[in-house]
Symmetry: C2
Subunit: 488 residues, 2 copies
């Protein structure tokens, strides 16, 4: 596949210099228009020719306005990066809408270097290609313009260059240790490049192969294609995404129906049981912290179902050094200018912490779905995106537990009224809460579908009957305490 | 000093429960008003009683609206944190304006645990207290409401508690390994706490000592003081900060006068010299990357002085994996809601990188000063703040080099005109650029003062004559290449 890049094309200096001024003007104009567009441009540069990648990046920065390009090169993973799933580092650096992010190497070449210089097995490599495809799909679905260029130097040119570098070390000063290291295992590297390019060339984001033998031709080709792609995307009339609110609530049945809301617990039993589990949580969370095992707890539920109180019963059992509660509210504008999972990726904790999300990424398929804040396409896609996200956490050894606190409509009303009577709880009740009540049935559907589509053994949903808060708190403490014991 | 906290105050359950509802209402109201305020609240909790700190944090989260409090606990520094100056981790987590950040331990207790369990010498401890004072001063000067509570358990209570924990292990389950570890060296820890509290109790941010023997009293005291401080600050009428633009330009002399703008270089010499330094930079930057030595290059200069071209001559010599160019443009809203240095702290690179800032934190004392975007107080304070910032970088082993590219007013006009003729450079010239020209003299003053007040041997300003771009580029390459060699 790579040899299809070997066209042998060249461009003479004169044509090059003739073409340049116009190209540069157009590139810069495109960049300026892009600033007001609602999508980011992500340029992934993979290469079996490191020097070419370096030079190309310099050229792009020269030809375009460097102030609006973020170039990121990804090398050896740091300890902090090692404590999170592999794609955390890329999520962190994604460009916001309206900007260009150039990713050098990154998820294109790191799997290869790890495969060659590390100890990954063949199965692991395949699995990573799968992650790449899903990651790219997620970005593209969110509207990102993702362009992937693979810079390829034909094998015989690799040999020629290495020989020249050996002879005239002084003249070929850019050919450094790193290049020698790669050159020595070129016969292993090239087939892996081939495989990666082949298997991650999907319909939504194919690799564009560019031969690097002729630098002028290489730079012009990439710049022109980049320009063309941005231009085309800018000129597309924005598709009138219908953000219609969800259908009038269907009456639907599902997992929520089977929750026994009459469950309760006597006060004495509650006290004793809670203490028992809190002690276990205390001990086990210290052990987990030492062993670097991370837990992610997700709390969702009806307004006034008792999320806060249940969370505090857990945190009271732990040391502040080991947990963090993350309440999910209105996103900042930095967060709004990225794919919706970005804000959660950026918050992933270091190894050994317990991270408690008070509301979470499930907002996408709950409130955003019901209120019509997300298009139907977007929330329907979200189940798969969320499953991918969580499966990366789980594969990385995180303990993921999700709680839905369930009460019925009457109980909620009772609690709203009670809250309004308690001065320091009044703030918890707003008109929004009453409005949400009107959409109860639509929410029931959304919750049922959410649980059905995103609960799995390794990242399970626990439906907690919460009419009796004591019962709910003990259940949650018990489940969390057990999960701390079982996961490895 | 700590024993002044030992008041022996207690509060009975009845008075406590009577006081609570009003206090909670007022706390929540204050929190809601705070959301629209233009300052952050930073609550630093230091303690010689870890369990009390944990409990207090839980209580604050219960009494207030947990959605608007960010609690951070800082433990052992990670590898990424170790690659930056000590305060990087705190800067990263500072709350934006309108929010409350609760820092547990952090810069209050980490110096102590490192002193006791690490290998720091006495001099290092003193130095860190100095950094703490400056850091806090910077936050307060920026308008943050910084409240520092030291939770103190009298020594005899420490002993009583430890004895009880030994006897009734089951009942005292919160007293864990970590507490035993501290307890065993209590005689070393307490004097250090004493010293830290004493020496970091400054006029702007004194420690408030709180005895922890009685939990109700402890929680009420902290909550009341927190409320009072926020309330008081909210009720202050905002001081009408006069953002008057700078005085009509004085004619002032200074370092810029001595720059020889007639310096030039013949083309052949230029080619040869540049190549020579580029090769050195290539080699030395690889070595620096291996050794983990970080370089920070700052580029400032007149519009059209040739910053971009000079930067590219450096990046062409390096591998994309080792450098990053950071163009400083308009801040995001997350950035605007923090102290102005926050955005630079958050960008500090990992060990071994070369970070090139195309414009920088010096905007504060240049454009923000001249255009009146920063108040006179703010930019006058900035020299000291910047010096502190850079001295932390330098002390941490970073190589810091700052370049001012200098041309005169006629040369600038010539270049503007030339740029307007080159289609792909036209975008670089806007009306703003002409407007800035009118303030040339004011800028000259600002630059002179900046260089005089922020140049030092370890983070020097280099004034580069840039009438001849070739000369400037070679100078910069030479200086950078040497700095790569000399720094350790």
């Amino acid at each position: 596949m790579l040899e299809t890049a070997e066209t042998g094309d060249t461009i003479d200096r004169e044509s090059y210099e003739q073409a340049l001024p116009d190209l540069r003007v157009e590139l810069i104009n495109a960049q300026y228009e892009l600033q007001h567009a609602d999508f980011p441009v992500i340029v992934l540069i993979g290469a079996d020719d490191r020097i070419a990648a370096d030079d190309l990046i310099d050229t792009l920065n020269e030809w375009m306005d460097a102030r609006y390009i973020d170039t990121r090169w990804f090398g050896r993973r740091s300890e902090e990066e090692n404590e999170r799933p592999r794609f955390w580092r890329y999520w962190r650096e994604l460009p916001p809408r309206g900007r260009i992010g150039v990713f050098a190497g990154a998820w294109a070449t790191n799997p290869i270097t790890e495969q060659v210089f590390g100890k990954r097995d063949r199965g692991g490599f395949k699995r990573r290609l799968e992650h790449i495809r899903r990651f790219e799909q997620t970005l593209v679905d969110d509207g990102a313009l993702l362009l992937k260029f693979w810079l390829h130097l034909p094998e015989k040119e690799h040999h020629k260059r290495a020989q020249a570098a050996e002879k005239h070390r002084h003249r070929h000063w850019k050919f450094d240790e790193e290049d020698w290291k790669i050159y020595k295992v070129l016969d292993k590297v090239l087939p892996l490049c081939e495989q990666l390019v082949h298997e991650t060339s999907t319909a939504c984001c194919p690799w564009q192969l560019v031969e690097t033998t002729d630098a002028r031709c290489r730079d012009l080709t990439v710049a022109r294609r980049l320009l063309q792609a941005i231009r085309q995307r800018l000129d597309e009339t924005p598709s009138g995404t219908s953000q219609a609110p969800a259908e009038p609530a269907e009456l639907c049945c599902g997992p929520l129906d089977s929750v026994d809301l009459s469950s309760g617990l006597a006060y004495d039993t509650y006290k004793a049981e809670l203490l028992r589990y809190q002690q276990k949580i205390h001990r086990r969370s210290l052990k987990a912290a030492q062993d670097g095992r991370t837990s992610i707890l997700v709390f969702e539920g009806w307004d006034a179902a008792g999320k806060g109180g249940a969370i505090r019963r857990l945190t009271r059992a732990m040391s502040a050094r080991n947990y963090q509660v993350v309440p999910i509210g209105v996103p900042t504008d930095e967060e709004l200018s990225h794919q919706y999972l970005w804000r959660f990726w950026r918050k992933l904790p270091r190894a050994g912490k317990v991270m408690i999300f008070d509301r979470s990424w499930y907002g996408r398929v709950l409130v955003e779905r019901v209120e019509g804040f997300a298009s139907e396409d977007a929330w329907k896609r979200a189940y798969q995106e969320i499953n991918d996200f969580e499966s990366q956490l789980v594969e990385y050894g995180f303990n993921v537990q999700k709680f839905w606190l369930h009460i019925d409509r009457q109980e909620q009303l009772r609690r709203f009224k009670a809250r309004e009577k308690t001065l320091y709880k009044k703030y918890k009740i707003t008109d929004d809460d009453y409005r949400n009540r009107d959409k109860w049935d639509a929410y029931v559907c959304a919750v049922n579908e959410m649980v059905e589509r995103t609960s799995c053994q390794r990242a399970p949903w626990h439906l907690i009957p919460a009419t009796d808060k004591r019962f709910a708190r003990v259940q949650i403490a018990r489940i969390f305490s057990r999960s701390l014991k079982n996961d490895h």
